[in-house]
Symmetry: C2
Subunit: 342 residues, 2 copies
């Protein structure tokens, strides 16, 4: 994996939380980050994760969730006494139940040049199922069989799982349910069938026995999944010790399927790296990074809602072959880099 | 759920570890427990979980695993310094890696009367895949489409997932791969299709956000699974606070699908209870136990390899309609009860 590098195209974020208006009057936008990406007509679309929160009151914490009331899902603001001591800014433990401090939805941003984006005024996908009561996060977009398949993290009090939505026009969409059960995240669908099967990368979370790892699954219809296999795990290095998970949809190259993934260190620093899978048999790992291609270096990558994060779940290959990589920084904003061969 | 009771048919176990010969000369049988069950011809078959261990040496602990060596999976005995202090007798933490102290395989036992069983001399299913390197555990058997579908827990260093094996004769079998990825256990397949779909109950494990819960999944072929839905979770009572998971294959009754499940208390006491799902739409929970139907009471249920456990993953409905429930006790032996209507 020595031939690739990730080069930042700007030393500034291309989208920040300040560019996004809240979806509800009660909300403040905490972050616009971790976008999925695709080409659509003449445009490049990003599907941003927009995290919104309700301001805390003295000694109180307010947690936004969606909940079924009177037969439909509605926004509910739960109020709790603020826990004592330090806590992860993303998660708060109230008794037996962990809550997210923000509620995420997915929102489109559009660009002609891939650098300057206009963010839609309204959400594209807002949580509206029991398994999305804590939000929808970190989408991936794959163009396959003439439609766009959007995999995303559906979070609820029962943990995070992988949901699937399909669209042809980015106006309307159809939900296909939860395709990988909790606790699981970071699922991306391959952009073509291989030997008659759909393939998906996903990341089981660790409970009791287990180590951070990326898995491969197989499907006959893209909706029902089986033949789950361990693909690769943390190799013993610090930078991917805590978590390891796939990023955007794999890209087919002459050398094989190119996979971009993230590692999280024991200090919760998120970095980016690459792996290569066999073109005809993606269960075969050909190569992968021994060290990260990109680590948080710029001020806005090192400070934010959750500091020291570069994380990608969106890249696009342009007609001229260039690959633009969109990445979330510090759970607050979006940067852009180019994947170059050296 | 007031109309059912579980009545023990014997105050003695019907099979214990002492009835089972080891599969390898190095091994001692630690437990023969948690059997799947089915009728096959004139016989009742149990598919026991047989847990085997290698004796510890002074200051050392020996961990049996299977590992690929020279192109095939072989038994490997790993030796470590014994950890200081108390530890769960089932799991030992060595550095970053949790190991099981025993290796489980699945072995058949046969009976004409459902009470007196003869245990086979050899394993039926021995771990032989990368995702089974720590063993195969806690099977469920479902007769469906003219063959027996065996779901089981496949455990490896990457966590526990759900494997599927099918057999027609309990002599040969075919592996169908991992159908639900880690971390997950306690999967049981419904014995008939409902509105054209196969259905399965399973139990996601909790990592970070989440609560113990039983989920339902749907399939078009029994091998690839989707539409995962939360079905029911711990109701706030102590006896099911820590874990809750489905037992054997659901049985169709006039009232609906009868599901037997286990709860584990904060003190790791495992009890048995019942739930009822709609016959035509198993996503609909009609009723479930508010307190356990059976708790560990007898000496051999309260002491053993892992004390205070009654756990079932096998029951059979006899031609006369009676339902015999086989249950593992204290991770050591097997008891039998009858499910009676009161």
């Amino acid at each position: 994996m020595k031939k690739y590098q990730l080069r930042r195209l700007s030393d500034q974020p291309i989208i920040t939380a300040a560019d996004v208006n809240p979806s509800h009057p009660q909300f403040r936008v905490m972050g616009a980050f971790n976008p999925a990406a695709c080409r659509f007509g003449d445009e490049i679309l990003l599907l941003l994760r927009v995290a919104e929160a309700v301001d805390t009151l003295p000694g109180k914490i307010q947690v936004p969730i969606v909940q079924q009331l009177d037969g439909q899902f509605q926004l509910v603001i739960k109020m709790f006494a603020e826990p004592e001591g330090d806590y992860d800014p993303r998660v708060v433990q109230i008794g037996d139940q962990a809550y997210l401090t923000s509620l995420s939805h997915l929102r489109l941003a559009r660009s002609r040049d891939g650098i300057h984006f206009t963010v839609d005024s309204n959400p594209f996908i807002f949580p509206e199922r029991a398994d999305e009561s804590f939000g929808v996060e970190d989408a991936r977009i794959t163009l396959l069989d003439g439609q766009y398949w959007i995999t995303y993290t559906a979070v609820s009090e029962n943990g995070p799982g992988v949901g699937l939505i399909v669209t042809k026009d980015f106006v309307s969409f159809e939900r296909r349910g939860m395709i990988i059960p909790p606790p699981n995240k970071d699922a991306c669908l391959f952009p073509e069938k291989i030997n008659g099967f759909y393939y998906l990368l996903h990341r089981p979370m660790v409970a009791d026995i287990g180590k951070p790892s990326v898995w491969l699954a197989r499907s006959t219809d893209g909706i029902h999944w089986g033949d789950h296999r361990f693909l690769f795990g943390a190799a013993g290095t610090q930078w991917e010790h805590l978590k390891i998970g796939a990023g955007p949809e794999p890209i087919r190259t002459d050398d094989g399927w190119l996979v971009c993934y993230h590692g999280a260190s024991v200090d919760h620093e998120y970095s980016l790296a690459l792996a290569l899978l066999d073109r005809d048999d993606p269960t075969q790992l050909l190569d992968r990074s021994t060290e990260p291609l990109m680590v948080p270096e710029l001020e806005w990558e090192k400070t934010g809602f959750f500091p020291n994060v570069v994380f990608t779940n969106g890249w696009v290959q342009l007609p001229d072959g260039r690959i633009l990589v969109y990445y979330g920084a510090a759970d607050y904003c979006v940067g852009v880099a180019e994947l170059v061969t050296v």
